[in-house]
């Protein structure tokens, strides 16, 4: 009897350690987007393995080009990932989200086209070097970011409301910059940044996104940005007492988001070599916020994980592309996304998680109890 009891006393201990390791993995922030990605990959593997096929094709101009759903995902998620970088910082420092990114992307794109086209709407050649256009667009976007940042940090208005201003006016300003014309740039060089550089089979936006990620990784590693924005997000007044200027940090995160918007806007117009003010980057703000939320970041500010946010952006694009593949119309996609989001958010809610852990404990306890009874 005593032997058997000993035997079973060892069992729960062992299983507890397994539960602990599982718990540790589950509690890691990166787990949520990773799990979502795994589910999506598994679903696609079962439904249609050809989803993961990548082939080397020739483009219309005869250059080698990689194609396949995975490449499409990586390519199309670039803007989302770049914006997610800025949005994560803004979310962390100010405890709110910028809903004007879609509109400011339109402004950024409009500025690029305005500089490149000059006074004509369909010039034969570009009126300014692309780098100049990009730099001007960068400055303008950062100014708009600074406007948002100023309203949020110095006038102490919640970010969502403050950015509502540009959300309403942004696309109109974009149209106004170009006098409501739709400029088209015929020079193929401009298209390199949104499509392919001849000779390189990987889409350029992937490289641009990678560069942005490297930059932000370096910034987070070598500056105090992470510490400061988290401190401000968790408790602004105590961080002020510790010598951090919360207003300045919030302001700075919005300016950084402005820079991200400039890059995203540049890629967006380069993809098509033109712009449609009311459609470009439509609803992208929602996707970006979802990416941040999917990354397990608290939307009320504080601690953040940049990797999870960026991964979240790719998961969202993965989901979108998967739905497209199954012939879901682009506007109906929203409904499916909503269901996925609700499931994810409910599962990651602290209350639900606690309950789940409790249930697991109960389950194992019941199992052990049963085993004991059977032996007796």
């Amino acid at each position: 009897m005593s032997v058997s009891e000993n035997h079973f006393e060892n069992l729960p201990k062992k299983s507890v350690s397994v539960i602990d390791t599982i718990k540790k993995i589950v509690q890691k922030q990166v787990f949520i987007p990773l799990a979502a990605l795994l589910v999506l990959i598994l679903f696609n593997l079962i439904a249609d393995p050809s989803f993961f096929k990548i082939s080397l094709d020739k483009s219309s101009s005869g250059d080698p080009v990689l194609s396949g759903y995975l490449i499409t995902i990586l390519d199309n998620a670039s803007e989302l990932a770049i914006l997610a970088i800025g949005m994560t910082l803004v979310t962390s420092a100010s405890g709110g989200q910028d809903i004007s990114v879609g509109a400011t992307v339109a402004i950024a794109g409009s500025v690029v086209l305005k500089v490149l086209c000059g006074s004509q709407s369909r010039p034969d050649q570009m009126q300014a070097p692309i780098i100049v256009a990009f730099l001007i667009c960068l400055v303008v976007s950062m100014l708009f970011g600074a406007f948002n940042g100023m309203v949020v940090s110095f006038f102490k208005i919640q970010p969502m409301v403050a950015t509502l201003i540009l959300f309403t006016a942004g696309r109109s300003i974009a149209a106004w910059i170009n006098n409501n014309e739709l400029p088209v740039i015929s020079d193929p060089k401009f298209g390199y940044y949104g499509n392919f550089i001849p000779g390189i089979p990987v889409p350029t936006p992937i490289f641009i996104a990678a560069i942005c990620m490297i930059i932000i990784a370096l910034v987070l590693k070598f500056t105090n940005l992470r510490l400061y924005s988290q401190a401000v997000g968790i408790n602004p007044s105590s961080s002020r007492l510790n010598g951090i200027n919360p207003q300045l940090v919030k302001f700075l995160t919005f300016v950084i988001l402005g820079a991200c918007v400039a890059v995203a806007g540049f890629i967006k117009v380069s993809r098509l070599s033109t712009i449609n003010y009311s459609v470009v980057a439509k609803d992208i703000e929602m996707d970006v916020i979802l990416a941040v939320a999917l990354g397990g970041n608290q939307l009320s500010g504080g601690k953040f994980s940049m990797t999870s946010s960026i991964l979240g952006a790719y998961v969202i694009q993965f989901l979108t592309t998967t739905l497209f593949k199954f012939k879901v119309s682009s506007s109906a996609i929203a409904a499916y996304k909503a269901v996925v989001v609700i499931v994810l958010v409910v599962l990651s809610a602290p209350i639900v998680r606690e309950k789940m852990v409790q249930m697991k404990k109960k389950g194992t306890a019941a199992k052990v109890g049963k085993a004991k009874k059977e032996v007796a």
Partner: protein, 355 residues
Amino acid sequence: MSNPFEKNSNKELSAKSLKSRVSLTDTNLLLFITIAVFLIMYVCAVVFLGKGFAKPQTFLNILNENAALIILSCGMSLVMITGGIDISVGQVTALVCMSCAVFLDKHGGNVYVAMILALGIGLAFGLVQGYLVAYLNIQPFIVTLAGMFFAKGMTTIINATQFNVENAQFKALKATRVTVPGLGSVNKLGNYIDAYVEIGVIVALLVVLIFFCVLRWTRTGRNFYAVGGNNQSANTLGINVRRTKFTAHLLCGLLAGVGGFVYFMHVGSGSPSHASGAEMNAIASSIIGGTMLTGGVGNIAGTFFGVLSLSTIKNIVTSLGLDEAWWTNITVAAMLCIFLLLQSILLARKNKQKS
């Protein structure tokens, strides 16, 4: 005989409370500013832009156009007073329009059943969102964002194109107009034309009246302010914070259903692009009307005038001849900006007075 000192102090107390009641609290001051801005704007429009604005029918048309927005904004204000937000209302409106249109046109339904359908859809959204926000502690922005996506997707799944409803019973309801006595005008031919409002306006005014009273004089209404002002102290005072938040979202959903049907009665068609951006207009009207997004401050009457100010400025911009679409958006944004800065300055001043 009572103590004379006591009596004296009582008097002082009552005088004090009277004074504080009359003095301008945040809510009252913001309400006052909103009404003043609306009146000034309208008077300026009448003086400088001439006869069009002087006609009572022009004013009534603003109401006709915005009845649904008024109802949606009321719901939005309720949620905002408790410190939350609901960005799904616009797409719920579109979903209600589309479902009712399909129900009436393709299934030959009854108008009254369609009304119940509209309320049911709104209530369902309110229930689910309220539960997730209040009892699972998920951020209202994310929950209602998902709700918005869901409603948007469902609308296109039900029907992807716009179509007009030809149901006779519904058409009769849509054409029903309530004449307003004494406000008619004489047209160019010398005929007297009655001023009218649509049924939706009556519904909207009723909603405004009901929720104005509820917020001001009922316990539920005061609970909304308490929860929005300070979650924890409301909890300590024995207010059921979760249930209050749940109720706010539920009511907002219900009002989205009502607003959806009113919008449907106004346009008489179903389309996925209906009421797009209505949630932002509702938020903007609430803010212009003096509701603070931090919660605890707000007034339904202010919201009502917020909607009126917003639509008046739109009308002014159009009649100035600046009919390129961007001017409307830019002026609305500028107005929003001014009101936000005003709120923030007010708040800063109040904090200074406290300390």
